[in-house]
């Protein structure tokens, strides 16, 4: 599937600020399952954009606007081709084993996914009896999260942990992803956080842009010995396929927020994000 995306992040300040610094992880990310053919990033007012690779191998950009400004807008325009049509079939080549570093990253607790007895107690029932059963275990865990927890906006924050969600039982995609990651890790399945987009298949085809109210999306990837890394989307109870586009990967949200930044000045700020996606063919 070929998709065109426009992602706009806009900051409005109540008064002039200077020395805006923004660290963004909005792609591009190319791997076996997706290819970013075009990636443009525009900043206004004009500033500097420098690309670098972060400690997790993600492409990141450091954006700076030194002079006084009252708004800062970052727009990325990308063409992406996704190719994982059937995530259920194992890949042709046996997936490579994880390195000690990957195991440590994706099995250990992290900032927003702390280990806990409650997580372990829930996950235990889903522990695969053989390595081949890992994929199904994760699917069921993903379904569990989808069925047991309620999607609701504005009840959690960027600092909400997996355990918090267990208690309050409502949250957004990011919280669901954290919970699924925590459940997987607690029974020894390496799991990681994916920040990205979903393109809904329904209604596509007439070329009309879909205004996506949810801006960006998040889900989890788990490592299974047979399939390698596969994405599981507990918000939609889906296994990630061509409709899921990855921007960045980390242990949890804290490693890969799409944008974060600072400025100098005594202003209040307002953040708006919008994403438009369009299936090209």
């Amino acid at each position: 599937m070929k998709v065109h995306l426009e992602h706009t992040t806009r900051l409005d300040y109540s008064t002039d600020v200077v020395e805006g610094v923004m660290d963004v992880r909005l792609g591009p990310l190319s791997d076996a399952d997706q290819r970013w053919d075009v990636f443009n990033i525009n900043v206004s007012p004009s500033g500097s954009v420098r690309r670098y690779t972060d400690g997790f191998g993600n492409r990141a950009h450091l954006i700076t606007v030194a002079k006084p400004h009252r708004t800062l807008e970052v727009v990325t325009r990308c063409d992406i081709v996704t190719s994982l049509v059937d995530p259920f079939s194992p890949p042709s080549q046996r997936p490579r084993a994880l390195t000690p570093s990957e195991l440590a990253d994706y099995l250990s607790p992290s900032t927003l996914v702390q280990a806990s007895a409650e997580l372990a107690a829930i996950a235990e029932a889903y522990r695969p009896s053989a390595p081949e059963g890992t994929f199904d275990s994760v699917r069921q865990l993903s379904k569990y999260v989808h069925d047991e927890f309620t999607y609701q906006k504005n009840v959690t924050t960027v600092a909400t942990t997996a355990d918090d969600l267990l208690r309050q039982r409502t949250g957004v995609c990011q919280d669901f992803a954290h919970l699924l990651i925590g459940l997987c890790r607690s029974i020894g399945i390496p799991a990681r956080y994916v920040s990205g987009y979903t393109v809904s298949n329904a209604g596509v085809g007439n070329g009309a842009p879909i205004a996506d109210t949810e801006a960006s999306h998040a889900w989890a990837e788990a490592y299974t010995p047979v399939h390698g890394w596969r994405g599981f989307d507990p918000t939609n109870d889906l296994v990630a396929s061509t409709a899921h586009i990855k921007m960045a990967i980390g242990r949890d949200y804290a490693d890969v927020p799409p944008t974060r930044g600072t400025f100098r000045g005594q202003a209040d700020e307002r953040l708006t994000v919008s994403v438009e996606s369009r299936q090209v063919d």
Binding site: T15, V18, V172, F263, R264, G265, Q266, V273
Partner: protein, 348 residues
Amino acid sequence: MAMLCRVAEDVFWMSRYVERAAAVGRLLEVTGHLELDEGDASSRRELWQRLVQPRSGDGALPDALTPASGGIEPMDVRHWVARDLRNPRSLVSCVARGRSAARRVRESISSEMWEAINSLHLWLAAGGADAAMEEDSHPFYRRVLMETQYIQGLADATLAHDDPWYFTCLGKYLERADNVAHMITLQAHLLHERNDDDQVRWLAVLRSCGAAEAYARYYSLRVDPARVVEFLLLNSSFPQTVRFSLRHAWQALQQLSGSQRVELGREGVTIATRSLGLLSAQLEHAAVDEILESGLQSYLASLEKNIARVCDQVTRVYLRDEPQPGRVVAVARAAMLMAEQQQQQQAQ
């Protein structure tokens, strides 16, 4: 040579505090001296009362020193002006603040300066200084004065005469101009209520500004109020006068703006230099008769206000980062803006 804005600000203030400490020390000594000439308790009180006229930004006076309290005790005033750390203008406060500023920039001033100001602070902060001030006040104030002047001398002798030194000059002379104007303000009422002690009082004003000997040399006359005002405001060659101080402050500022690279092109540079230049020029061409005619008190009030405005402009151009209000080192607000929908990180 460029210097950090934060360092420039601390050097500027260190220099102001040292100059202010010297002025407060002189005022205390002279007042203590005058007190001995006063026969009755009420005129002593009145003498000391003048020292607690609050200046803008100084905060509230303690209850015992407010006019409402009735009888002000000279002892309380002296303590307030000399030692009370709650008073930002007390001698001890000035030295402590100057020393804190010096400590923050110790790598940018000479070791000699740092050690001298640190020694003065340690001496004043130690227990013995209290007793010395009460029992043997003359040697005490001598020492304060000598050490502050020593610090200023070290600035001239041990710093390269480039930006940091110009900031010490700017701070010292702006502070001095302000102090001298204020000393005259404290006694300006004498012009209207003349009595026999005037001679002594005006001599005291000269002493408070360290200018008695120089005045005598200039005029070799009886101490005359108009001549004292003229000397302290308008004399061009004695360093403890307003005119001299403003001219030297202006010269320091010109040197600093001269070292500005054109690239900077800040509007403010010209504004600060211009208003200080204007103020300095006014003093260069003023005549004391006109000043007295139009009213000394209002003249001094406007002078003090103008000096304060120049200080403000200087700070804004060199020491602060526009458009941010507050100090240049005022911590940049590190707002974490995380773009997961419109969620705001909640304070925990």
